[in-house]
């Protein structure tokens, strides 16, 4: 009888521990009781959304948007390589892995080869510091040298590095670390954008591209709320909310879209028009807050 009960305990104990751990994992998943998780329907089903994801534009995408809007190159606004020496906690390494990723995307966009190599080097060190394994050859000098003059190839190298980091961290149940990288990258990209504006003669297109970040900030805040128990993430939420309050002053009016689908080419075009009411004072205010936030990230 005693042996029978011992067998039961031995069998069931690991399952109990796993269930507890899995519940904790579930609590890290994007919440299902947020405002977005309404009861929705596919056909006749009333289904509750099991999982919600929030995506933010990558620094590469943001650099591309700004460059196409007419932004110039100004290396003085970027985070200094030497600053990496003081990033010795996981949170600081993660945040600045994002920051330097944004810097690299910016230097790459303007074909600044030596600066790009320098940023790749510090990104490698921070990745190693966070225990993120890299595919053999990712940071190989030979690979970088072969591709450094080719902007598109370098683009794929950068994408590969950050995608691998995000996948590895999330699959290793380190979603909060992945979120910090995203936070660092987005803040730095917005900081760069607000610093390249010519405040004497502002480009309407650059101002509008900055204004459109209000959507991404909403997504970023929702993403970070999943990890609101993380004390590091909690530190930055007030400034992010302050930034959000400033973005709320910017009005974006969207017309109803005409949808055209081409089944042969497998593409759908969404023809909508935005009217963006953004004043230079809004951009100045955003610049002040994001500068304060960025200062906290890189110190």
């Amino acid at each position: 009888m005693f042996i029978r009960w011992r067998i039961i305990v031995i069998f069931l104990l690991p399952l109990v521990f796993y269930s507890c751990n899995n519940s904790k994992n579930s609590s890290n998943d994007a919440n299902v009781d947020s405002d977005s998780a309404n009861n929705i329907g596919f056909q006749d089903h009333a289904q509750k959304v099991k999982k919600i994801f929030y995506n933010i534009p990558s620094p590469i995408e943001m650099s591309s948007l700004m460059q196409r809007a007419g932004a110039d190159y100004d290396p003085s606004i970027l985070n200094r390589i030497e600053s990496a020496e003081r990033y010795n906690t996981n949170s600081k390494m993660a945040l600045n892995l994002g920051v330097y990723g944004a810097n690299l995307s910016y230097t790459r966009m303007f074909d600044q080869i030596q600066e790009s190599v320098n940023y790749l080097s510090v990104i490698r060190k921070l990745s190693e510091g966070l225990g993120i394994p890299q595919q053999p050859g990712t940071f190989a000098v030979s690979r970088i040298e072969q591709n450094i003059e080719n902007r598109d190839s370098l683009l794929y190298i950068i994408t590969d590095i950050y995608a691998s980091a995000d996948i590895y961290l999330k699959e290793s149940n380190r979603g909060s670390t992945a979120a910090l990288i995203i936070l660092g990258g987005w803040v730095e990209a917005l900081y760069i954008a607000t610093n390249i504006v010519d405040y004497n003669d502002p480009s309407k297109e650059i101002m509008e591209r900055i204004a459109e970040q209000k959507y991404s900030l909403n997504n970023l805040i929702e993403l970070l709320k999943v990890y609101e128990n993380d004390e590091i993430i909690a530190l930055y939420m007030p400034l992010l909310e302050k930034l959000n309050a400033t973005f709320d002053k910017i009005e974006i009016i969207t017309t109803k879209a005409e949808i055209i689908t081409d089944s042969v080419k497998k593409v759908t075009s969404i023809s909508n028009q935005n009217k963006i009411n953004v004043a230079i004072e809004n951009i100045k205010e955003l610049k002040t807050i994001v500068t304060e936030l960025r200062k906290e990230l890189i110190k």
Partner: protein, 148 residues
């Protein structure tokens, strides 16, 4: 005694399904999904989960005006054909893959920047069983820098 061992074995097997599910997604996106995204550039964010029949997942993101996007919903075969829709924030339908033979990927472009929702549903199987099939589903988004 033998009977007890059998019961415990079956219980452990059934209870381990979530464990197997948890590991189902590991490596799935990188191996099975990302190659299909080319020539679009991956946005670098993993959106994968183990979903069962009847489950719904959503991804909220921004499509920037002047960019092209590819949405790929990649899933394991055992959960069958997965449905996905692109919705605006008022939940108006922009695209539904069921109307295109359950295609797993589609391209989009927008004149102006807007917030959108990618909604994924794992349909109920044709044959109802006591144990719902579950498998890894990954929503992958790529973009192109230029839009002509």
């Amino acid at each position: 005694m033998k009977g007890l061992v059998k019961i415990l074995f079956v219980s452990a097997l059934v209870a381990s399904f979530p464990i197997m599910g948890f590991s189902q997604c590991k490596g799935f996106t990188k191996k099975q999904c990302l190659p299909i995204l080319e020539p679009y550039l991956y946005n670098g964010q993993l959106n994968s989960a183990v979903l069962s029949e009847g489950d719904v997942a959503e991804l909220l993101l921004t499509f920037y005006g002047g960019q092209e996007y590819r949405v790929l919903v990649c899933s394991q075969d055992l959960i069958g054909k997965v449905e996905f829709k692109l919705l605006d924030t008022d939940r108006n339908e922009i695209f539904f893959n069921k109307e295109h033979d359950y295609t797993t990927n589609w391209d989009f472009n927008a004149n102006s920047t807007q917030q959108l929702i990618i909604q994924v549903l794992v349909p109920q199987g044709a044959v109802k069983t006591d144990i719902a099939n579950s498998g890894c589903v990954s929503i992958v988004v790529g973009f192109k820098e230029k839009y002509e």
